[in-house]
């Protein structure tokens, strides 16, 4: 069979390849930022902060490419799901890269202060877990693997529990006078950054599931809402389930 829409498919392939490359950049930047934070490497922090501009440019170019595909090629079915999802994923990637940059900025703010070894240990663990999540979600996207994408949400709950543990540890260290208030607040915010990176990874995995199967998370919520309204009124509300 002759491939008629060669341009369209190569555009879409390019968009997918760019998502994978941007994802790899974020995955690699997570441990880098953690090392910068733990070693107080100001030069490294500057480098990563500045590299973010290029990343933003690439993410918006990716979006533009997808708009072009939508406008000029009018994709349907799986292709449409993929194009639309990549627009959303590029936002998630851009936001994740920002969070990595935020970790570097926090490293600048707490420069010169010692971090309690127990806290350092938990930070390393959170970073490791966030990176694992991101690597896994990007693999699921690359391989169009629904099962792998579905597992990301469970992996994220470990990161959430590390986050809780970390906050508790901050309180303990602070009450033992091991860290001062300013550092404690900064570190609490840093922990939040890792936790948010995990959430973005989960969002990307949900887009992957949507691309592969058409599954949308919100549908669970919609059916819960419908059941609730039906219980109260005996009527089924008209909410579109189109995706």
């Amino acid at each position: 069979m002759v491939e008629i829409r060669k341009n369209f498919h190569s555009d879409l392939e390019n968009a997918v390849a760019e998502v994978i490359r941007l994802g790899a950049s974020v995955t690699e930047a997570i441990p880098r930022a953690t090392a910068i934070l733990l070693s107080g490497d100001l030069e490294g922090a500057d480098y990563l902060v500045q590299a973010d501009d290029e990343f933003d440019g690439r993410a918006s170019a990716l979006e533009a490419l997808c708009f072009e595909i939508l406008a000029l090629q009018a994709p349907v079915a799986a292709d449409l799901r993929q194009t639309v999802s990549i627009i959303k994923i590029s936002g998630e990637l851009e936001r994740s890269a920002d969070l990595v940059v935020n970790i570097c900025k926090a490293a600048r703010r707490i420069y010169g202060h010692d971090i309690d070894p127990t806290l350092r240990g938990v930070i390393s663990k959170m970073s490791e877990q966030a990176q694992k999540l991101f690597a896994a979600t990007m693999e699921a996207f690359e391989e169009n693997d629904d099962a792998k994408a579905a597992a990301i949400d469970d992996m994220d709950s470990y990161l959430d529990s590390l986050h809780r543990q970390f906050i508790q540890q901050i309180f303990e260290s602070h009450s033992n006078l091991k860290i001062d208030l300013q550092v404690a607040v900064q570190l609490a915010v840093v922990a939040r950054f890792y936790e948010r990176i995990g959430d973005h990874a989960v969002n990307i995995s949900e887009k992957t599931r949507f691309i592969v199967t058409g599954w949308v998370r919100e549908r669970d919520g919609i059916s819960r809402y419908k059941a609730k309204v039906a219980d109260q009124t005996g009527e089924t509300p008209r909410i579109s389930e189109q995706n």
Binding site: R21, G23, A24, E28, P31, P117, T118, R120, G121, A135
Partner: protein
């Protein structure tokens, strides 16, 4: 290295020859259809053999033939690290290099990526006479690591020797102009401390170099349990002073062949460190057990722990995790590298498992020798346990 590039050069010119011959084969196809099929087979064989040869190299090679719109890559280039996201980034850097080379004719850069540890790659691109582009990727992580270790060693050595000398000079200078006995006394005392510190560093350095050229003539069969008892008891005092519980769990007669005082210094050093980096109320445990033909000794503490990136470097001479702390605890920065030397010399191995805030476990493995202990030694052991 030059040899590798020579071989690469040969392979590449052969690849070019293959493409050229394939083109000429296409042109004369109608005339000599039988001959070309033979020629095609031969050139295909040649090309696949060349790819096999390139696959052997640890250096990644990417070859782009613009005329025939053909792109080839050896095995190493397809998976430089085995970590997927890093491979993706390396590929991206290669693509950038290809674009650069197509414009400028050549290019060279060092690319770094964090895959567990930071890895360094040298990416080099050349445009060939046939307008094809060849890019090589070389993993230079180990090379740059050795360079760092060397420069750090020289810098640290000069620093460590300079600090006490500077202090002694300054103190002696003040001493010459000092008339008050009390102050002079204090200054002299500080000079003594600093010179001791310096002589300790020099002693340790001498120990190290002696170990590096050491022989095994005066080695005997030694009961490791005695060694451990001695190492623990010499450190018991400082453990008590710091409010730590230092305990030994010993499984009895375990024999190694080696030098007694060296082995004592191994465990004494490890226990000393465990005590130094623990806080009041913690437990430091030394345990030994025989596993088949090796003896495993664990020195376990619940102290501040060691960050992952430092764990790989703590056995280097003068490497310090935290300079400020090491000066306060008064180490020379050579302890662990001496430990490692002795253990390796004795045919053993040492490793560390550590997590920041949780604690560290140093594990020493030594080869066990089966020896019937002399009768008096058995009595000796009975008295100890």
């Amino acid at each position: 290295m030059q040899f590798v590039f020579f071989i690469l050069g040969v392979c590449i010119s052969a690849l070019i020859a293959f493409f050229i011959s394939r083109r000429s084969a296409n042109e004369t196809q109608t005339v000599l259809s039988q001959d070309t099929s033979l020629e095609k087979r031969v050139t295909e064989d040649l090309a696949s053999q060349l790819m096999d040869i390139l696959d052997v190299f640890a250096i990644g090679v990417v070859f782009i033939d613009y005329k025939n719109n053909h792109r080839a890559k050896n095995k190493a280039a397809s998976s430089m690290t085995g970590v997927r996201y890093v491979d993706i980034l390396v590929n991206q850097a290669v693509d950038e290099m290809v674009t650069l080379v197509a414009e400028l004719g050549h290019g060279d850069r060092v690319f770094e990526a964090v895959a567990g540890t930071t890895r360094f790659f040298r990416i080099h691109g050349e445009k060939l006479r046939s307008q094809s582009v060849i890019v090589t990727i070389e993993d230079i992580t180990e090379k740059s690591r050795i360079e760092t270790v060397q420069t750090d060693f020289v810098a640290n050595l000069s620093h460590e020797l300079k600090t006490p000398i500077g202090a002694i000079a300054a103190l002696a200078d003040s001493l010459t102009g000092e008339t008050e006995t009390d102050v002079a006394w204090r200054l002299a005392e500080r000079i003594v401390t600093e010179s001791h510190r310096m002589s300790r560093i020099v002693d340790d350095l001498l120990d190290l170099s002696r170990l590096e050229f050491g022989g095994t003539e005066d080695w005997t069969n030694i009961d490791l349990s005695h060694v451990l008892v001695e190492a623990v008891s010499t450190n018991q005092h400082s453990a008590k002073r710091q409010g730590l519980n230092l305990s030994l769990s010993n499984t009895g007669n375990l024999f190694v062949r080696g030098e007694r005082s060296q082995l004592i210094s191994v465990f004494s050093n490890l226990i000393e460190n465990a005590i130094k980096y623990s806080e009041t109320g913690n437990v430091v445990l030394v345990e030994s057990l025989g596993l088949g033909n090796e003896i495993v000794v664990n020195v376990i503490d619940h102290g501040i722990g060691i960050a992952e990136h430092d764990q790989k470097r703590i056995f280097e001479r003068f490497y310090r995790v935290d300079r400020a702390r090491s000066r306060a605890t008064g180490g020379t920065g050579l302890g662990l590298s001496i430990v490692r030397h002795i253990v390796l010399e004795h045919g053993g191995s040492i490793e560390v498992v550590s997590e920041e805030g949780i604690g560290s476990t140093f594990t020493v493995r030594l080869p066990q020798v089966s020896v019937k202990p002399a009768p008096d030694l058995v009595d000796d052991l009975g008295a100890l346990t």
